[in-house]
């Protein structure tokens, strides 16, 4: 390759990157239109499979039992597993919905993701604690096993412990009413 040609190619690179990025964005938008790409409701490879194994420490200073793998392996009723963090803005937005579920007696289990334990504890004191069981995943290893896309992220497990639904992003009142509640009712039966 001559230096002049190499230079030409190098100067063509920005255009190439924009073209490739543009094509990918176009694909995403088409996917969103068809409904098979949704950055919030990304389908998980784990749907229809049991929850991956994890063994995590608890959250000191919060009077809630530790969340173990056994609690989600075969819970006997639908349970919700929520990955969250105190530094996460949308977690505050979805918090009232989790509180509402917990008041109704739905077991909501929490895993604090990449968060200092003091910060997680303060978050729960400040906003209230919707979690019936808690664990913390400071290094983020369990989150990788679960395929967590970002916090907040929520999983619905059926009574046999099979993951039925996964949602990345804040659970708004609308998502709660239109998606989560119908699923809870269906899997409770």
């Amino acid at each position: 390759m001559t230096p002049a040609l190499r230079r030409r190619l190098l100067l063509l690179a920005p255009f190439g990157i924009v073209a490739a990025g543009g094509a990918a964005f176009y694909g995403m938008l088409q996917g969103r239109r068809r409904g098979d790409f949704n950055p919030r409701g990304v389908p998980s490879a784990l749907i229809g499979r049991p929850a991956p194994f994890f063994d995590l420490p608890g959250l000191p200073g919060v009077e809630v039992p530790l969340l173990r793998h056994a609690d989600v392996a075969s819970p006997g009723r639908p349970v919700i597993v929520n990955f969250w963090a105190s530094w996460c803005v949308p977690c505050v937005v979805e918090h009232p919905q989790l509180m509402a579920l917990s008041r109704e007696g739905v077991p909501v289990f929490g895993i604090a993701y990449k968060d200092r334990p003091e910060a997680s504890r303060d978050f729960l004191r400040r906003h209230g604690n919707p979690f019936a069981r808690l664990a913390r995943d400071e290094p983020g290893r369990a989150a990788i096993e679960w395929g967590v896309y970002g916090v907040p992220e929520t999983y619905l497990l059926d009574p046999r412990g099979i993951i039925r639904w996964r949602f990345a992003g804040a659970i708004t009142p609308q998502i709660l009413a239109e998606e989560l509640r119908p699923l809870l009712r269906r899997h409770a039966a």
Partner: protein, 656 residues
């Protein structure tokens, strides 16, 4: 009626901007002076049309004209007048109109203040701005018409997101958009230069003031956004690495690199191709931000109502402008003379280092923001990226940046030695060390913030050294040095002040590391303390505003046991829209903030969270200082000389 008039004005603006995108180019190519000069009146005309459209939309909001759909969706007769007006740009359609209004303002200001540019070049710059204007006006007219009518009109509007009903948000988008859209001007300069196939030191001189102006506004816009998050979201952080925040940081980083590399183009005629690339990139990144926020491909608290159809349109515009710009770049840049060689240790060498670090930072933020989305799309794999990633990845890049930023301005052009520059920084280094010791004595051992304080003081000291050195302090009498300092070019003062501003901002960020917070459930009469300060809950009562009710706590702040201040944090409930917001109470003396937030109430006790945040206000003061540095350098004599030239030309052209 208002709706029809506004719609018509928009269509008129579209036609004028189409004319602006074609006629001047044609004129410049054929050497037709009349067509070339048509660029200026056309730009002014487009501004007039778009400004009237915007005026009509504002008056529809003020009059609460419920025949306009946008008013119905986003306003309410009970809303205070100020928020009726700011509500105009609190939604997708209105904010796009504001975006286009600012773009038209940019084009008109190039037409008005671009007197120092050759006529053909100015015509080409304005034509490129005309393309952008026409594209976005078409987007508004076809997919996001703010004047969409409803008939029969409903009795009243449906309110506005209460989080958005806020003074910070009122001034945030206009400032941010001036910064975003300002990058369109430097883009237009770059494309015009590529069309002419010539980039020289004059190009560097022309493009710099526009780069500085847009950078200064972008700095202010980002600062106001972060200040809004600080007091409105209510948990005392100032930067969350939210995708929308990152989207505003990206063009800022590219713009910072551009305004430094343009100096090298002007002084040394090097980095020409690189600077053109940065100008294209800065605009590309600012369009990318617009696209991400409005297409719904990413997940953020700031997102507008999103719609894939609109996303496809914006993506098309983005690919046309950015892809087209880069294609032109690929065709024309190879013919441009390659950059001259220069010594790595020199002013230009330091500026190249700045560019490398800025671009690496931009790459890190870019990847962190977009990678999860792409990974998901391409491989179906999911990765999570949050503040832990950004903090870890940006840290090793900002450390050398702060070190180099101090030494760079002290180096001469062409060839320098590292040692004399470092030698002159001994005073700054001592000041940094003193800052470290003072912070250690007050705040205790906390390595990261301590080194942050040291680096901040070092940056401020280095900026002072720069000015003192240029004034000849120590080599001449004090009075003489003072006179020379006063006589220094304003660009030199601007640069030093902007660099000091970075130091001030860093000081504030480091102060966050010494902040402490406490949460307590208090009954009236009980208190919670941090250091010398004590917050005593006096009581909680109901309060009401025009369209909200609230629970407001009254806290007496005691300092060393003496009453010091009263703070009233509250939780507001907006019945229209059924939303609750937290209104933090902040008491500042510009060197530290006392911050109080009210949480849930339970059995007569209220959860109160209090923060003591030393140095926090300096984060935003620092950003304002940076922007002031930018504005000061805009008032430099070289620009006024150009103004003089313009006046002379006008005088010569007048009939004798």
């Amino acid at each position: 009626m208002i709706g029809e008039a506004g719609h018509f004005a928009l269509a008129l603006g579209f036609v004028l901007s189409l004319a602006l995108s074609v006629l001047p180019l044609w004129g410049a190519a054929r050497g037709d002076a009349a067509l070339t000069e048509a660029a200026r009146p056309l730009a002014h005309g487009a501004l007039l049309a778009v400004a009237s459209a915007f005026g009509f939309l504002v008056s529809a909001y003020v009059a609460n004209d419920t025949t306009v759909l946008s008013v119905v969706q986003n306003s309410h007769s009970l809303k205070p007048l100020l928020y009726k007006i700011t509500g105009v740009w609190g939604n997708h359609e209105g904010s796009m109109l504001l975006w286009v209004l600012i773009l038209a303002l940019c084009a008109a200001s190039v037409a008005a203040f671009g007197g120092n540019l050759p006529s053909a070049f100015r015509a080409r710059v304005l034509a490129v701005l005309g393309w952008v204007l026409a594209g976005f006006l078409a987007f508004i007219l076809l997919t996001s018409n703010p004047f969409e009518r409803v008939w029969p009109p409903p009795p009243d509007g449906q309110g506005l997101n209460p989080l958005l009903q806020d003074i910070g948000l009122a001034i945030h988008p206009p400032l941010l958009y001036v910064g975003y859209v300002g990058t369109a001007i430097t883009y237009a300069f770059a494309v015009a230069a590529l069309i002419e196939g010539r980039v020289d030191s004059a190009w560097g001189r022309w493009v710099r003031p526009w780069a500085v102006a847009s950078w200064s506004f972008l700095t202010l816009g980002i600062a106001v956004g972060s200040w809004w998050a600080y007091y409105e979201l209510g948990w005392g952080g100032f930067w969350f690495w939210d995708p929308v925040e990152n989207a505003s940081l990206l063009p800022w980083l590219a713009g910072t690199a551009l305004l430094h590399s343009a100096i090298v183009v002007e002084k040394r005629e090097a980095l020409k191709i690189w600077s053109v690339l940065l100008a294209l990139l800065a605009f590309g990144l600012s369009l990318l931000g617009t696209f991400l926020v409005r297409s719904g491909v990413l997940n953020s608290v700031h997102a507008f109502a999103n719609d894939p159809e609109r996303g496809v349109f914006i993506l098309g515009l983005l690919l046309f402008y950015v892809g087209g710009g880069f294609l032109l770049f690929a065709l024309r840049a190879p013919a441009m003379a390659p950059a001259g060689l220069f010594a790595p240790v020199s002013r230009e060498g330091a500026l190249v280092l700045n560019n490398l670090l800025m671009c690496s930072l931009a790459a890190v933020v870019f990847l962190g923001t977009l990678w999860p989305m792409f990974a998901d799309f391409l491989f179906g794999a999911t990765v999570s990226v949050g503040p832990p990633f950004f903090n870890t990845a940006t840290f090793p890049l900002v450390v050398p940046l702060f070190l180099a930023m101090a030494a760079g301005p002290l180096m001469p052009w062409k060839r320098a030695a590292l040692w004399p520059a470092i030698e002159r920084l001994w005073a700054a280094a001592l000041a940094g060390l003193a800052g470290f010791v003072v912070a250690l004595a007050i705040g205790g051992w906390n390595p990261l913030p301590l080194f942050g304080v040291a680096a901040a003081v070092w940056l401020i000291g280095a900026a002072a050294t720069d000015i003192a050195d240029r004034a000849g302090l120590g080599r001449t009498s004090l009075a003489n040095a003072w006179n020379r300092a006063k006589g220094l070019p304003r660009a030199a003062w601007g640069a030093a002040i902007a660099h000091a501003g970075v130091g001030v901002c860093l000081l504030g960020i480091s102060g966050m590391g010494f902040a402490s917070e406490r949460i307590a459930a208090l009954s009236p009469g009980q208190a919670v303390a941090i250091g010398a300060y004590e917050w005593r809950l006096e009581g909680v009562r109901d309060a009401a505003g025009p369209n909200w009710t609230s629970r407001r706590a009254t806290l007496t702040v005691l300092r060393h046991g003496q009453p010091y201040a009263v703070m009233e944090p509250e939780r507001r409930f907006f019945p229209i829209g059924r939303q609750t917001t937290t209104e933090a109470a902040i008491r500042t003396n510009l060197l530290r903030d006392l911050y109080a937030v009210m949480g849930e109430e339970e059995g007569g006790r209220a959860v109160i969270r209090v923060h003591y945040k030393p140095l926090a206000p300096l984060i935003w003061i620092g950003a304002i200082v940076m922007a002031l540095g930018g504005f000061l350098s805009l008032s430099d004599r070289r620009l006024r000389v150009a103004g003089g030239a313009r006046r002379r030309a006008a005088a010569a052209g007048a009939p004798a």
